[in-house]
Symmetry: C2
Subunit: 322 residues, 2 copies
C-alpha cells in the first residue's frame, strides 16, 4: 500500500494543509520565511496531520474547519525537527542540508521558536483550550524524551524500559495526541477519543522502533542520512540493547559503544554484531505486538473507510523499508 492510496481520503485536506503552511510560515523577516520554506520543501510523510484528519473524519457529517489544527500539528513537528538538528549537530535530513548547516544554529533555534509560537497561536484561534493543552503537553513530553536520550547516550547499562519510556515521549505521545485531537474534532465520545489515542500511541511506538531498525538495516541512500547514525552517536536502540544482552559478541559491542568514537570500521563491526544477534527480529516482534494493539484499539463503529484506512496505516508502518 503506497502513501497516496493510504491518505486518499484526506488528500484534498492535505493539499490545503500544504497551502496553509506555505502562507503561515511567512514573516516580514526574510530569513525566517526562507528557513520555513526550506523545511517545507524538505517534505516529509505528513503522517501526524494525516492521522489527525482521518480521525477527525471518523464520524460522517463533520463540518468543522480541520485544516488549521492539522497545520499546527505539522508546524510543531517541523519546529522539533529543526531544533533536533541543532541538538544533534546534523548536516543532512531527508537528503537535504539541514537548516543549521545552512543558516547556523542561531537562526535554527529562532526558527523553531517561531514555528512553535505560530502553531500554538493557530490552535488558540481555531480550537478549544483543552486541545491546545494536549499539544503543549506533547511538546513538554518531547523535550523530556530528548533530554532522556541525551542522558542515556553511550550508556550500556540502560534497560529496555528506559528505551520504551524515551520513545514514548519522543515520538508516540505526539502521534497519540494527533489521533486524540482528531477524535475531539469529530465530537466522539470520551471512550472513543481515548481509544483513538491508544491506537495512535501504539502506531507511534511501532513507527519509532521501525525507524530505529531501519537505521541499522537500510542504506544511507534509502535513509537520506548516514546509516548507523544512532549507534555512532551513542543512541542505543532496541536491537542494540538486545545485542548487548544476548549476542555472543556482546563484550566486543560493549567496548565499541563505550569507546565513544567509532570509525567506519568500528561502526560496521558494531552493526554486524547487532544484525547477527537476532536483535532486529526481536525489535520486529515488538513492532508486530504494538501494531496488533493498535488494530484492537480501534472502535468498531468508526466510519468504515476511516477505519479501513487506519488499519492500512498500521500495516504500512510495519512494512515500510525507509
Amino acid at each position: 500500500m503506497t502513501k497516496p492510496t493510504m491518505f486518499a481520503l484526506v488528500e484534498a485536506d492535505l493539499r490545503a494543509v500544504e497551502q496553509a503552511l506555505a502562507e503561515i510560515i511567512h514573516s516580514p523577516v526574510d530569513q525566517l520565511t526562507q528557513v520555513g520554506r526550506h523545511l517545507l520543501q524538505a517534505g516529509g510523510k505528513r503522517l501526524r496531520p494525516a492521522l489527525y484528519l482521518l480521525c477527525a473524519k471518523s464520524r460522517q457529517g463533520e463540518t468543522r474547519a480541520l485544516v488549521p489544527v492539522a497545520v499546527a500539528i505539522e508546524m510543531i513537528h517541523m519546529a522539533t525537527l529543526v531544533h533536533d538538528d541543532v541538538i544533534d549537530n546534523a548536516a543532512t535530513r531527508r537528503g537535504l542540508p539541514t537548516a543549521n548547516s545552512r543558516w547556523g544554529n542561531h537562526v535554527s533555534v529562532l526558527s523553531g521558536d517561531f514555528l512553535f509560537a505560530k502553531a500554538f497561536s493557530t490552535v488558540a484561534r481555531h480550537a478549544t483550550p483543552a486541545m491546545l493543552r494536549i499539544l503543549t503537553d506533547v511538546v513538554c513530553s518531547m523535550c523530556e524524551g530528548e533530554i532522556l536520550q541525551i542522558r542515556d547516550t553511550f550508556s550500556v547499562e540502560q534497560s529496555e524500559e528506559d528505551y520504551l519510556v524515551r520513545i514514548a515521549k519522543k515520538t508516540a505521545d505526539f502521534i497519540a495526541a494527533s489521533c486524540e485531537l482528531g477524535g475531539l474534532s469529530a465530537g466522539l465520545a470520551p471512550d472513543e477519543v481515548a481509544a483513538l489515542r491508544r491506537y495512535g500511541h501504539a502506531v507511534g511506538m511501532a513507527f519509532q522502533i521501525t525507524d530505529d531498525i531501519l537505521d541499522i538495516t537500510a542504506t544511507s541512500a534509502q535513509l537520506g542520512k548516514p546509516a548507523g547514525n544512532d549507534l555512532r552517536q551513542g543512541i542505543l536502540t532496541l536491537p542494540v540493547l538486545y545485542a548487548l544482552q544476548h549476542s555472543p559478541c556482546r563484550e566486543e559491542l560493549r567496548r565499541l559503544v563505550i569507546s565513544r568514537d567509532l570509525d567506519e570500521l568500528g561502526l560496521e563491526r558494531g552493526l554486524t554484531i547487532v544484525r547477527d544477534s537476532g536483535g532486529i527480529e526481536y525489535a520486529y516482534e515488538h513492532v508486530s505486538r504494538y501494531l496488533k494493539e493498535a488494530r484492537l484499539a480501534l472502535p468498531a463503529d468508526l466510519d468504515g473507510i476511516v477505519r479501513q484506512t487506519l488499519l492500512a496505516i498500521a500495516d504500512f508502518v510495519g512494512l515500510r523499508k525507509y
Copy 2:
C-alpha cells in the same frame, strides 16, 4: 526609588509567582528541573510579571486569579533568555554561569522549548484564547527581532530606524503585551487597554535603550557580564550608531567595527570614541522622550496607587544604573 518600594503593591503576588514558578518548572526528568531552578535562582527584575500584575489591579475589586498569567509571562522571558544565551554563546548572565555553559546547548535548547510549552499551557488553562494569542504573537515578534539583530551584526550601514524596529520587536513588544494583558485581566475598556499597551511599549523602548547605554557606560561588575559586550559582538546600539554618524573619529570607529575582531585595546578605543561622541547623551534624549510618552499614555482614571506606581516605574527606568 528602589525596586521593593516600586513593586510594593504587588509584592505578595510576586512572592506567589516565585512559588508557582518553582512548582511549575518541575519535571520528572531531573535535568529539566535543574535548569529551571538554575534560571530561577539567577533571579532578575521580574519587571514583566510586575507590570502585568500592576495593570491587572488598575480597577479595584478585581478578583480573578492573576498569578498563572504572571507565571507564564516570566516563563516566556526565561525561555527567551536561555535560548538567547545559546545564540550568543554567552558564558555568564547576571554574574552566574549560563545554562548552556553548564549543561550544553542541547539541554538549553530543550529547556527553552519546555518553558515555552509550559507557559502556553498555563495561559491556555487560565486565560482567554485572545490573551494566549497576544503572548504567541510576542514570541514571534521576539524571534523576528533576534533574527534582525543577527542580520545587522557588524553592519555599519544600518539606520537608527533599523535599530528602533529591532528593539521594539526584541523588547518593547513583550513589555507592551504584559501591560495589555494586565488591562484585559482588569476588564478595562478597549481604549484603556490600548493605552496601557502604549505605556508598556514606551517603557520597553526606554528600558532597552538604557540597557544598551549601560553596556557602554557601566563596569563589568555592575552588569554581571563583560562591559562592551554588544560592541564586541557587533551589535550596534543607538550610541554607537550616533557616533558612526557624528564622531570626528567616525572613520576609525567604522574600521574597528568592520574588523569583526576587537581585542581589549580595540574595544576600549571603540567605547571611548562612542562616549566622546555625544552618543550617550543622544540616546538618553530618546529615553526621556519615550518615558514622557509612557507617562502621557496612562489613562487618568486608573486606580490612584497603580497610576503612581506606573509613573514611578517610568522614572526608575530612566535612572537605573545597572
